[in-house]
Symmetry: C2
Subunit: 215 residues, 2 copies
Amino acid sequence: MILYNYFRSSASHRVRIALNIKGLEYEYRPVHLLNNGGEQHGEEYTKLNPSHEVPTLVHKGRAIGQSMAILDYLERIQPTPPLFPQDPYERAVVVQACEIMNSGIQPILNLRVLGELEKRYSADANSKTEWIQHWMKYGLTALETFLQRHAGTYCFGNEVTAADCFLVPQLVSGERFKVPLANYPTLNRVRANCEKLEAFIKASPLRQPDTPPTT
Amino acid sequence: MILYNYFRSSASHRVRIALNIKGLEYEYRPVHLLNNGGEQHGEEYTKLNPSHEVPTLVHKGRAIGQSMAILDYLERIQPTPPLFPQDPYERAVVVQACEIMNSGIQPILNLRVLGELEKRYSADANSKTEWIQHWMKYGLTALETFLQRHAGTYCFGNEVTAADCFLVPQLVSGERFKVPLANYPTLNRVRANCEKLEAFIKASPLRQPDTPPTT
């Protein structure tokens, strides 16, 4: 398996955690989102991922983009340990938690959206940070309410699920943009529990082959 | 089953199509996204959906939000006709197509994002329409490239899948915002084939209980 990804991309981070939980070995191929005008826009990479996004997983010569699709695929080819509960409703709870982050938070604050805010509305660095903080707070508030009903040691009960693969990168990203995180006690508790696990430690943006030495 | 939804919401539209394909009866409960400051922000509704979003499906007294989670749930409780292929890679292709719309396009142009553009950057109606058109073009261009490899009669081969439940609402929304759609021959062909099917016809935003007579 080859994972095209970027140390700091939260969608990449999710997939690294999932691969580690599943115990799947992979080759790390960095795609730098800023250098050379963004390597995700290169001709060869765009053949693998027409959305110009990381991550892309290549397995048996076939490319899969979108972190939700990749996690779903990993669950099928390597069912244990599971990332999703078997019961349909419990599974839906986990998917909903993932999507509160996957579609509810992250797309609104990715690099290309920030670029358009600058281009169209002359948004400066402060204004872009406020934009990020606003949407992160909005989504994390919903997630805290939602997970208070479902979380135990982890996002859903006491077993690690896909929701945890999404939560930790989201909070790491929140810290980076100085989002006040104290208001989310459930999320913080779950994060602390996750970060004791080797699968999460190894996947950290601070420890990847393309992490700059100064990070 | 009860579906809290809004005639014009594309995420609601996706779920209506899926329910119709599965042949599942449901009670339609309208949630008006603009009246009364947005009924999705009401106290009772927020208990069902802490993200203040439509749609929400309630089944056996339990609420599920996020269209991807709802479609996944419907697939589990009513496996036929299937909305996802069985093969792991083929399934991933369908999930990726859904996510190109679910996380790649729609979150960036929803009502609350447009509201923030107005509030923070004084974006006027024209500017907001240009924002919508920009992101729709970006995402649909990726989707056209992606589906040229996979589409037949429908998005994935010759059977209807979840990707079709996402595609038709996306293009209906594109038309509404006057996005030039001629550049997407694969998407247009698939849409035309879908719109011959009763499940899609019945789910149209033009035919719902809360559709205004002037629409």
